[in-house]
């Protein structure tokens, strides 16, 4: 049982606390600096919204893949080699002319890591987490996305093990484009539902 709350002294600067924990764990052989570097580098270099964009581009160009993606998101992203923590129970929700989907985590910061990487600061903010489940249309407009009155809003709170990703609508004027060109126009925010393409 920790007694941390009994301390009244000024907390050490955050850099020193992080270093203290790392040194303590490394000195006991619980981990290595190299292992920590590898974990971090995977999320800085290999795991990010470019993965989700590839999934979306495939769904736009291959109707059978899209059906599989909407039926079982985790299995369909695995076909493209994506998976891992926070992606084992992936559900993909589809935007249409009359439905707009948006994802949030009111309790913490759950996010579909294998396809979108780590979330941006605003997704983790108190304001986004508190307001998206109460006034999504107002909040989205403040964030730059004005939705027409015909648009029904569907909010997905990642409260259990399911992680959500939005399948944006394919923009007009992209007929005949390659998957690679299509993936290049898919933004992270469009897969969160904070923007439309």
């Amino acid at each position: 049982m920790s007694g941390g709350h009994h301390h009244t002294a000024e907390p050490a600067p955050i850099e020193r606390r992080v270093a203290a924990l790392e040194e303590a764990m490394v000195s006991r052989g619980l981990t290595t600096t190299e292992f920590i570097d590898a974990v971090v580098q995977a999320y800085e270099n290999d795991i990010g919204p470019m993965n989700g964009a590839e999934v979306v581009a495939r769904a736009w160009t291959d109707p059978d893949y899209k059906d599989r993606l909407l039926a079982d998101g985790a299995a369909a992203i695995a076909e493209l080699g994506f998976g891992g923590p926070e992606g084992e129970h992936l559900v993909v929700v589809e935007n249409t002319e009359t439905v707009h989907n948006v994802i949030v985590c009111t309790l913490c910061s759950c996010y579909p890591w294998p396809v979108l990487g780590l979330p941006p600061g605003w997704y983790k903010s108190h304001a986004y987490r508190s307001r998206m489940v109460r006034e999504p249309r107002v909040l989205l407009a403040e964030m730059g996305l004005e939705l027409g009155p015909q648009m029904e809003i569907q909010v997905w709170d990642s409260s259990a093990e399911v992680r959500y990703m939005v399948l944006p609508q394919r923009p007009e004027g992209t007929e005949g484009w390659s998957e690679e060109s299509l993936a290049a126009v898919v933004t992270r925010d469009s897969m969160v539902g904070a923007a439309r393409l």
């Binding site: 000024e10 992080v18 203290a20 619980l30 974990v39 309790l107 109460r134 403040e142 259990a160």
Partner: protein
């Protein structure tokens, strides 16, 4: 627990700062904190539940005023101390100042607002369900804003560990969860849109 982390529907947090959109890690200490959290998660058997529970036990003012990755650091250090992997005095000494940890976990009895039998799957797609009035001192993934409200099951999820029980006792008991769809009027008395929350069977009761 009825903590400050349970933000759904709260007023007063103002505008979302869309410009807070930088790289995954803004500083090197954030990288290290994330990596260390990964290490402890692996040591605990690849579950995020103890870390989430430890973040929720942070003193409320500390939670609301500290940067995001300080939550991870605090939870990771708390877990490492509670598991006996490192000791608190050593952390304080190495840091050269105090090292605030999360508050102690509540006793098992007050921690749990769910009760056996666990592991059930009582509901099906299309059924209306009511969210129980869950209010425990311990970890739960039943957000306050859906308590006592009625929604409709639109998906049955594969059974996964009931987090309340895992956090309180360490027991892993897989249980079905459901995607439950709520109308804005049901949750807030007004407004528009549909709100979907994934809820374990133990959180629900028949209407």
């Amino acid at each position: 627990m009825d903590g400050v982390h349970d933000l759904g529907g709260m007023h007063g947090f103002g505008a979302v700062d869309k410009a807070d959109d930088g790289p995954a890690f803004a500083a090197d200490w954030e990288r290290r904190a994330f990596g260390l959290a990964g290490v402890v998660t692996v040591l605990r058997g690849h579950t995020f539940t103890p870390a989430r529970a430890a973040i929720e036990r942070m003193a409320p003012v500390h939670y609301l005023t500290s940067p995001y990755y300080e939550h991870w650091l605090t939870a990771t250090a708390t877990a490492a101390v509670e598991l006996g992997l490192v000791d608190e005095a050593e952390l304080v000494e190495r840091a050269g100042g105090s090292f605030p940890l999360s508050r102690p976990a509540p006793g098992t009895e007050s921690a749990l607002a769910v009760a056996p039998p666990y592991g059930r799957q009582r509901f099906g797609v299309g059924e209306d369900v009511r969210v129980r009035d869950i209010s425990s001192a311990g970890h739960t993934r039943c957000p306050r804003y859906v308590r006592r409200h009625t929604g409709t099951v639109i998906r049955v999820n594969a059974p996964t560990a009931l987090p309340d029980l895992e956090a309180a006792t360490g027991e892993i008991v897989p249980e079905a969860s459901y995607c439950v769809r709520f109308r804005a009027e049901e949750l807030w008395g007004e407004g528009e849109g549909w709100f979907h929350v994934d809820l374990w069977d133990s959180y629900l009761e028949p209407t």
